[in-house]
């Protein structure tokens, strides 16, 4: 199964997230991650969805999404023409003997410590999915107490914007 990042420009209307999520559920499409937020244009939101499909059904996914009235545009962001980032907050168990090793990992991965208590650190890391996964692997031996992460956020490279063409 291949993985595709779709970026949806949608009208910021009540129920839009339900419409998108329910469409995936009832058509048997597989969502790996989902991130929603407002955009630079008032009234428009952007949904970044990572979908696991074979290539023929991907066309079905985009066509079905396009049928939703509140969906204005669907683009696939191909890996070489877009940047994609995950965002994670990780609470790691630390004590005086392990703290410096954890901080070394933080530096190596260009992560940031955002909260410190005597027996734990909260670390923020941003990066592509592979980097985040590698970072978790490094931290695991110390004891990950809690982990939260956003869905993948992605944006096309270059100066163009997906909202441009839509807004005449």
């Amino acid at each position: 199964m291949s993985r595709h990042v779709l970026s949806l420009l949608v009208e910021d209307k009540p129920g839009i997230l339900t419409r998108v999520a329910a469409l995936f559920a009832r058509r048997g499409f597989n969502i790996e991650s989902l991130a929603v937020g407002t955009t630079e244009v008032e009234g428009l939101s952007r949904i970044t969805v990572v979908v696991g499909v074979d290539s023929a059904p991907l066309e079905q996914v985009t066509k079905q999404l396009n049928k939703l009235i509140n969906v204005i545009k669907v683009v696939e962001l191909e890996a070489d023409q877009a940047v994609a980032r995950d965002h994670m907050l990780i609470k790691v168990k630390t004590d005086s003997s392990t703290r410096s090793a954890v901080l070394e990992a933080v530096t190596l991965f260009r992560a940031r410590v955002i909260d410190v208590v005597s027996d734990a650190l909260i670390i923020e890391v941003t990066g592509d999915t592979a980097k985040c996964a590698a970072f978790i692997k490094v931290l695991e031996p110390f004891g990950i107490k809690e982990l939260v992460q956003s869905g993948v956020l992605a944006i096309g490279r270059g100066s163009k914007s997906i909202t441009e063409k839509v807004l005449k």
């Binding site: 949608v10 009208e11 009540p14 129920g15 339900t18 419409r19 329910a22 009832r26 023929a56 066309e59 079905q60 066509k63 079905q64 396009n66 049928k67 939703l68 009235i69 509140n70 969906v71 204005i72 545009k73 839509v166």
Partner: protein, 584 residues
């Protein structure tokens, strides 16, 4: 044009009037009460009070399917709205332009499990083309206009507008025409010129083309263009269950219906074709059978207004997104010059098909139990009523026989529940059709099972002077299920006996039931009474008519391709497969 201050309820009615709505079907209740008040004063809108909201939904569908215009139904919140769900789902599957307006509890009560509260927008999300929740009176004109536009353009479908009670009661300036801005809704109707050329090229190269015609041609009103196209190419035409009447049955190129209960020539022509010219059809599983073995030697031209239908089931060599009428018109313009230089010789193809037509006509045998042959009853209804009548069927054996044995010459004469397979569609749909086309003879051809699901609308028909004719094809059982039990479950008839026959408990007695509803009730048990009863029904127009035809329960629908098997395995009759001599 206007800047009067209206209540939301007045806005609903005024908007419907300005959009040209003349007939609505509904039933009031608490949350929609405000809207029913100004409705009473409307001089332009006729409201038909139904006995169950499902009846309102199917009546609006029948109205839409018979007229080609929007059907409108109204219900209150909670159970009123959920009773519309089956009809909305039905309209979604069959692309029927339907506007459902529901009352909702006051906006401050939403989410509190208030009396008669149901999240109808959420419930109907998977079965509507779109839906709106309106909580502000000022938003009503724009929302109704947008809903009507969405329901009637592109691929038609049901749209739900749920309006809170406080939005109906609130006041706002009535602005008309409203600004309808749907940035994400731009249906493509005009085909791409290159694709038309590519399609013409494939047609010119084909030795065994078939026009595979679906319901989209009916919805688009493209029947005249289709006739021209078919005669230009000279290819055989098959009309799916949803497309019966899109091409005249009397035309020699028409092979009838394909699919599970299609004619042997129609099923086989698709199967052996080298080019499917697919017009507004969607490769439904009831047409393709096992899809991997469906028409394996055929290239596909797929014309549909919904891009998502193209390539969904079957790869399209030439995909064409567009309205069937516009696409066929352009094909008709393109084809003559292409065919002039290379008109393919279809005589071998026709020789093969003519052989099938001759050897495997539709037919039936007399019943062995002395009861009426249901196919004969239905055939006589069609012959005595003619092609200008409207026929609305329920779902099951009688539906298939009505699709097979009535000759359709025009679109919108055949109404049925194709995609959803909704038992109970027939009586309310016939009622809606009669309201929309009062000068036409309208038949509900129903089963004894289906009839018991929605016959309460006979009261609506009797009281509102909507003289439909109902033919109950009474085999005292859930006939199609029983047929499958006969064929696939060793004649173990689990829960299919309905006891409505004259030799059974006869509960209910349909003639007495008809009379109780103010209808003329007739029972027919002998063959020689059939025509007389049908003629009496046709001549009786001061009240609805119900004819209880007592038919054999052992009659089966043939031909048949069993579920999930290849169309190559079509059975002409029980244990009788066609023989494909001289071909492959």
């Amino acid at each position: 044009m206007s800047n009067e201050v209206f209540t939301g309820a007045e806005s609903v009615i005024r908007s419907l009037e300005l959009l040209g709505i003349e007939d609505v079907f509904g039933l009031p209740g608490g949350a929609i009460l405000p809207t029913y008040d100004p409705l009473m004063d409307s001089k332009k809108i006729r409201h038909i009070l139904v006995r169950h909201e499902q009846g309102a939904g199917h009546a609006a569908e029948g109205y839409a399917s018979a007229t080609g215009r929007l059907g409108v139904c109204i219900a209150t919140s909670g159970p009123g709205a959920t009773n519309l769900v089956t009809a909305i789902a039905d309209a979604y599957m069959d692309s029927v332009p339907l506007l459902a307006i529901t009352g909702q509890v006051g906006s401050k009560l939403i989410g509190t499990d208030a009396f008669q509260e149901a999240d109808i927008v959420g419930i109907t999300m998977p079965i509507t083309k779109h839906s709106f929740l309106v909580t502000n009176a000022a938003d009503i004109p724009e929302t109704i206009a947008a809903a009507v536009m969405i329901a009637t353009t592109g691929r038609p479908g049901p749209v739900l507008v749920d309006i809170t009670k406080d939005a109906q009661q609130g006041k706002a300036e009535f602005v008309w025409p409203p600004k309808v801005d749907l940035a994400g809704y731009k249906p493509v109707t005009k085909p791409h010129g290159k694709q038309i050329q590519a399609a013409a090229q494939l047609i010119a190269e084909s030795k065994k083309p078939v026009l595979y015609v679906g319901g989209g041609v009916v919805r688009s009103g493209a029947h005249k263009e289709l006739l021209k196209l078919a005669e230009l190419i000279g290819a055989p035409v098959v009309t799916t269950l949803m497309a019966r009447g899109a091409f005249p049955d009397s035309h020699k190129q028409n092979l009838g219906m394909p699919g599970m209960h299609g004619t042997v020539p129609a099923v086989t022509a698709l199967q052996k074709s080298d080019l499917l010219i697919t017009l507004g059809a969607r490769f439904d599983d009831r047409v393709t059978g096992d899809v991997k073995s469906f028409a394996t030697g055929a290239k596909v031209i797929h014309v549909d207004i919904d891009p998502a239908e193209i390539g969904k089931i079957r790869f399209a060599d030439v995909p064409i997104v567009g309205d069937a009428k516009e696409v066929i018109t352009e094909l008709n313009a393109e084809l003559p010059s292409v065919l002039k230089s290379a008109k393919p010789d279809l005589s071998e193809w026709w020789k093969f098909i003519d052989g099938l037509v001759e050897r495997y006509p539709l037919g039936y045998t007399p019943a062995g139990d002395g009861k009426l042959a249901p196919q004969h009853v239905i055939e006589r209804i069609g012959e005595l009523s003619g092609p200008e009548a409207i026929y609305a069927a329920g779902v099951g054996q009688h539906q298939m026989w009505s699709a097979q044995f009535i000759k359709y010459e025009r679109p919108n004469a055949w109404l049925n529940s194709g995609g959803a397979g909704t038992m109970g569609y027939s009586v309310p749909a016939a009622m809606g059709a009669k309201v929309g086309q009062p000068d036409r003879l309208v038949w509900a051809i129903d089963g004894d099972g289906c009839f018991q699901m929605t016959n309460q609308e006979l009261a609506t028909c009797a009281i509102n002077n909507i003289p439909i004719k109902v033919a109950i094809i009474n085999n005292s059982s859930l006939g199609m299920v029983r047929q499958w039990q006969t064929l696939f479950y060793n004649q173990r008839y689990s829960n299919t006996d309905l006891h409505t026959g004259t030799d059974a408990l006869m509960i209910p007695d349909f003639v007495k039931l008809a009379e109780a509803y103010g209808c003329l009730g007739i029972r027919v048990e002998k063959e020689e009474e059939i025509d007389k009863a049908i003629m009496l029904a046709i001549e009786t127009n001061d009240r609805p008519v119900v004819i209880d035809f007592i038919v054999s329960r052992d009659a089966m629908v043939w031909p048949m391709v069993a579920a999930g098997v290849s169309n190559d395995e079509v059975q002409y009759a029980r244990d009788a497969a066609p023989i494909w001599d001289g071909e492959e």
